[in-house]
């Protein structure tokens, strides 16, 4: 199980140390498209192989852009609240400290997200390969994928038990699919 606050560099033997600084410079550059080129240029000499390439895919460039814009937007809002606070609006002091905190969250969350993504691509926590991780449909997490994998009958069991397991899996799928959107209607 992933423990978000227990990351250590030892788990990323080669190249992973670059993840945080790369993202830091990408955010500091501010411009969205420049993020991708900056990432590519910085990550190229790393011996991590082609593992980082997903970061310059269009979808991830979009995420980088969104994170950069929201980071600078939140800093700008903090600055705006700071000026409001200086001009006598006492309430703005709370927001003056809140907005930079949110901006910091954005950086920390994004850095750890990219680190997680590297780990998933390496297949460190997964039985599946990186290709399988990439081809997962939207909204299907790795846990669900692994559950589906483990649901296939094991060939070291006797046929009676695997048939029973297949029956349970089918029942489970039926129950899950039934009334999936109840509550939203």
């Amino acid at each position: 199980m992933v423990r978000p606050w227990a990351f250590s560099f030892q788990r990323y033997p080669h190249g992973m140390e670059n993840a945080a600084p790369i993202e830091g410079t990408g955010l500091a550059d501010g411009a969205g498209p420049a993020d991708g080129t900056g990432l590519a240029a910085a990550a190229a000499p790393a011996p991590s192989g082609p593992g980082w390439r997903f970061l310059v895919a269009p979808r991830w460039l979009g995420w980088h852009l969104l994170m950069a814009v929201s980071f600078w937007g939140m800093l700008w809002l903090g600055d705006w609240q700071f000026h409001r606070a200086l001009s006598g609006n006492a309430l703005s002091w709370a927001y003056t400290f809140e907005w930079p905190l949110f901006a910091g969250f954005a950086v920390v969350f994004w850095t750890k997200t990219i680190r997680d993504e590297f780990r998933i691509k390496r297949g460190e926590t997964l039985t599946g390969s990186a290709e399988e991780a990439e081809s997962l449909p939207f909204g299907v997490g790795m846990i669900q994928a692994r559950a589906a994998q483990s649901a296939t009958p094991a060939d070291d069991e006797d046929p009676e038990l695997s048939a029973y397991n297949a029956y349970l899996t089918r029942l489970n799928a039926e129950v899950k699919n039934h009334g999936r959107w109840h509550g939203l209607r």
Partner: protein
């Protein structure tokens, strides 16, 4: 996992209730000329939202969510009523399957054992 789910759920509901109160009681009072409620509840919501962000993000990592549902989950705390809808969606779509698969791996089904 269960503890993270509980923390997220509690914060989602508290933040949601405070935000609904802020938007549907505080803002009308502010428009009517009594800004004190909106000001105080606004600051409270800001602090609660920070806690919500942390818990929601920890849960999103444990569920190994993709970026899109993670961002939706985190931003839900800023839109009135949205935390309730998103909490139900996340539960149905991600939490329940994840807990089910966890239970499956913890106790493999074995009719012979009984």
């Amino acid at each position: 996992m269960e503890a993270a789910v509980l923390r997220y759920r509690v914060m989602a509901y508290i933040t949601g209730v405070v935000l609904v109160f802020l938007c549907f009681v505080g803002i009308p009072l502010q428009v009517a000329g009594h800004p004190a409620v909106a000001n105080n509840v606004g600051v409270v919501h800001g602090i609660l939202y920070i806690i919500y962000l942390v818990f929601a993000w920890i849960l999103s990592r444990k569920l190994q969510l993709a970026n899109k549902p993670t961002v939706i989950m985190l931003l839900a705390g800023t839109v009135p009523i949205m935390t309730f809808i998103v909490e139900r969606w996340i539960t149905r779509r991600f939490i329940t399957p994840a807990l089910a698969s966890q239970a499956e791996t913890a106790e493999p089904v074995s009719p012979r054992a009984s």
